[in-house]
């Protein structure tokens, strides 16, 4: 087990040591150890029920750290997990969108939670290719892939430093998946860190800088794809 060193301006974005997190009384994460650095794109592999989603939610500060140690963006998950939330973006099986509002309205809403101006919102829409005819459609009328892109545009508008994505490729066609990978790589290049849970193993080489396997609540390094 590596020693935990916490310097304030460290390059380490995620630092978990023997972390345990529970769903009800079930230990979804049963002692996970993981270190992720800024700018990495980490692919989480593993069977269903392995604990990938729980790992993502833990790193987002959404669920308590039951046992072990955990720091995300320098914030202690045991005591201060509320403080890390606004710096992290999670997109899970849900997209966190309001179906009755348009794409632009949704992205603008999320941007406004951090005080983004219209310019940033427009830039976010453009980056996700949503500034065309889709911009004024209600989200409920979009395809799954388009909704996913809208959710990511929200992350961009919110200036999230850590992106935690749960099966983001689901529902996208081939072109959409390529586009998504491009977007994620750009995000990482501009300073965000990305962790993706996915079954899309063939894409690993195109997208990820590193792979990690989650099995029965614990983590195994697989190195670069």
């Amino acid at each position: 087990m590596s020693p935990i060193v916490h310097e304030p301006d460290t390059d380490v974005v995620i630092d978990l040591s023997d972390a345990v997190a529970v769903l009800g009384s079930f230990p979804a994460l049963a002692g996970a150890t993981l270190v992720v650095r800024r700018g990495e794109i980490v692919l989480l592999r593993g069977p269903n029920g392995a604990g990938k989603t729980t790992l993502l939610r833990l790193c987002a500060g959404l669920i308590p750290l039951e046992r072990g140690q955990g720091h995300v963006l320098g914030v202690d998950l045991k005591n201060d997990r509320e403080l890390v939330r606004h710096r992290v973006g999670v997109i899970g099986h849900n997209n966190g969108l309001y179906g009755d509002l348009t794409v632009t309205e949704n992205v603008r809403f999320w941007g406004r939670t951090v005080g983004a101006n219209q310019g940033e919102v427009d830039a976010a829409l453009q980056r996700m290719g949503l500034n065309g005819r889709l911009a004024n459609l209600p989200v409920s009328r979009l395809s799954a892939g388009q909704k996913r892109r809208t959710a990511l545009a929200g992350l961009v508008a919110r200036r999230a430093e850590l992106w935690l994505l749960d099966e983001p490729h689901a529902g996208l066609d081939a072109a959409g998946r390529d586009e998504l990978d491009q977007v994620l790589k750009l995000a990482a290049a501009s300073g965000a860190t990305v962790m993706v849970a996915s079954h899309e193993l063939e894409r690993a080489g195109q997208l990820a800088t590193r792979q990690v396997e989650v099995v029965a609540g614990q983590i195994r390094e697989l190195g670069a794809p």
Partner: protein, 256 residues
């Protein structure tokens, strides 16, 4: 109360009795026997109400306990939220007290209703006290429903604690609004229904005894229930230990 998980004796095999509670239990039993003898047989009937006044010996203590239980729940909830270490013991006391409180509240409402029927001809009246008690009763049922929602112990504790304190906020509001309604509209007849009973020494003593015995019974019930809730939680926790072990073994197995 030792709340650490002990792997030597499973929570399933532990008992909630201690020498103290056994002694207390005997005291309660003896007190109850005495109360029944005095209340139902020895103490005199009332000049105005006749034999029906004997309901008072169950009703008044029941009502008193209902409110005591509620206060204990509220204070424990506040203690849980305030306490830096967030000890779940407070949460369990609050829950145990609420369960027992619902019991006593039910007793109080039913006996009061019967008493009212016999003495004043109505099962119910909307005076401030009764309405507040009925309101508390329903609120508690909601509180117990929320306690059963599941999730982690801390989640349960936090939700219920907030609910209990909101109920404290409600009580004066409900009480006051009903009283205001009655005074403004001079709701006649049974609004003046207090304990207008001419009580001689023995009746007073029996009543007092009733309150004491019921209070001891409350303490006995809450102690046991709180301990059994603790054992339930320990069972969950030890379940976590076992589940952790099992899951780790699974990981080992799959790694090979």
């Amino acid at each position: 109360m030792n709340t650490s998980t002990s792997t030597k004796v499973s929570p399933r095999d532990r008992v909630t009795g201690t020498p103290f509670t056994r002694g207390l239990g005997i005291l309660v039993l003896a007190g109850m026997v005495l109360l029944i003898v005095l209340g139902l047989f020895v103490s005199p009937a009332d000049v105005n109400q006749g034999e029906s006044v004997r309901i008072m010996y169950a009703h008044v203590p029941g009502a008193w306990l209902a409110y005591l239980a509620f206060i204990v729940t509220a204070v424990s909830s506040a203690a849980y939220l305030w306490n830096r270490t967030r000890s779940l013991t407070w949460d369990r006391i609050a829950g145990a007290s609420a369960e027992v409180g619902v019991l006593f509240m039910g007793i109080s409402l039913i006996t009061g209703s019967l008493w009212g029927r016999i003495t004043w001809g109505t099962y119910w009246t909307w005076d401030a006290r009764l309405t507040t008690t009925a309101f508390l009763f329903v609120t508690y049922i909601g509180y117990l429903a929320v306690r059963g929602l599941g999730g982690t112990h801390q989640q349960r504790a936090r939700r219920s604690a907030v609910l209990a304190l909101l109920a404290v906020l409600e009580i004066p509001l409900v009480h006051f609004s009903v009283e205001l309604w009655n005074t403004l509209h001079q709701e006649a007849s049974v609004a003046g229904r207090g304990t207008n009973v001419d009580m001689d020494g023995l009746m007073l003593f029996t009543l007092f005894l009733g309150v004491v015995v019921f209070t001891l019974m409350y303490v006995w019930l809450v102690l046991h229930r709180q301990r059994s809730l603790t054992l339930d939680d320990m069972l969950d926790d030890s379940g976590l230990d076992n589940a952790l072990t099992a899951r780790r073994a699974e990981a080992e197995g799959m790694a090979r």
